[in-house]
Amino acid sequence: MRYIEPHAHMVSRTTDDYERMALAGCEAVCEPAFWAGFDRSSPAGFFDYFSQLTEHEPKRAAKFGLKHFCWLCINSKEAEDVKLAEEVIALIPKFLKRPNVLGIGEIGLNKNSRNELRVLEMQVELAAKFNQLILVHTPHLEDKLKGTKLILDVLKNDKRIQPGRVIIDHVEEHTVEMVLNCGMWAGMTLYPETKCTPARAIDILETYGSENIWMNSACDWGVSDPLAVPKTALEMKKRGHLASAVEKIIFQNPKKFLRQSKNFKLGI
C-alpha cells in the first residue's frame, strides 16, 4: 500500500528507517522543524539545521526513492527567548525559496506562555506575508487542551489565514472536534505511549469522519515508530475499513492538503 508520511523527524532516524519506510510503501516524507532535544545556542545552529533539512536530508531520502519535503520555523520549546526567535525567524525567508519547503511549521505552543504566544504570532505573520501553508504543533498532555484553544484563537483572529491551509497536529479526542469545526485540518500522531494509539486514531475517524484529517508517526529521537502509519492502516483493515478508505487517510488526504504548496510534487 502506498502512503505519505506527513510528519517525521528524519534527522533523528537512521538510514535503515528510510529503507523500512520505503519497503512499507512510503512515497514521500515531510519533516517539520522541531526541537533537537537541547536548546541551540545561537541562530547559527538553526541556519545549519535549515540547511540540513533543505539540502542534506532530501539526498538521504532519495537513496531509497523517497521524496523529502520540510517545514521551517523555530519550535515552541525554544520560543521563551524572544530575541533568539526574532533572529531565527529573520533567517527563514531565504530558505522558503528552496524547492522542498512546504511552509511554516511546526509552530505552536509548548507550556502556553506569553512569550511562546508572541513567537507564534510572529510566525503566523511570516506565513501570511509569504503566503505559506502552516503546520501547528499542539502542546503535550495536560497542556494540550488549553494550548489548542489559544492557538485556534490566534489563527482565527488573523483574517489573512485561510483555515483550509492550516493543519493542527497531535489532536486527540478532546481537541479534534474544535479543530475540524474551525475548517482547519487535523493531524493524529501515532505514538506508543502518548498522543494516539492506532485503535484510538481509528475510533476518531469512525466518530468524526475522514475529511480533512491525516495520520502521522511524528517519529523522532524519542519513543516513536517510523512505521506507525502503515501499521495503523493494517489495523484499519482489521476493523473492516475498505482499501479505498484506508488509501484516503494515508495517501489521498495528505496529498490533497500538501498540494496546496507548489513545491509538493510526487512525480506520479
Partner: protein, 88 residues
C-alpha cells in the same frame, strides 16, 4: 464491526491494560509516602470509566487537562507530566 467482533479484536488487550492499572494502584499503595496531584487526577479519571456516557476517552483527557484559559507568565520548564497541578 459488530460488538462481538470488537470484543474479539480488543478484549484481551483491554483486559491486559486493566490488570496493569490494578497492579499499578496496588504498587502505589504498597509504597510509603503521600499521594500527589497526579494520583488524585488518576482516581478521578477512573471514576469516569464506569460512566454511562459514550465519550469516556474525551472525559478522561479533560480530567488531566489544564482548564484555565490565560497564558502563563513564563515557561519554567519544557516537559509535561500528564496531569495538571494548580500553582498556588
Amino acid at each position: 464491526m459488530t460488538r462481538q467482533q470488537i470484543l474479539d479484536l480488543y478484549f484481551l488487550d483491554a483486559r491486559h491494560k486493566l490488570i496493569e492499572i490494578a497492579a499499578f494502584l496496588d504498587r502505589v499503595e504498597r509504597a510509603e509516602g503521600k499521594d500527589d496531584f497526579r494520583l488524585k487526577s488518576f482516581r478521578a479519571a477512573l471514576a469516569k470509566l464506569d460512566d454511562k456516557k459514550k465519550n469516556r476517552a474525551k472525559e478522561v483527557l479533560m480530567i488531566f487537562s489544564d482548564l484555565t484559559t490565560k497564558p502563563i507568565g513564563k515557561a519554567t520548564g519544557k516537559g509535561a507530566v500528564g496531569a495538571w497541578q494548580k500553582i498556588k
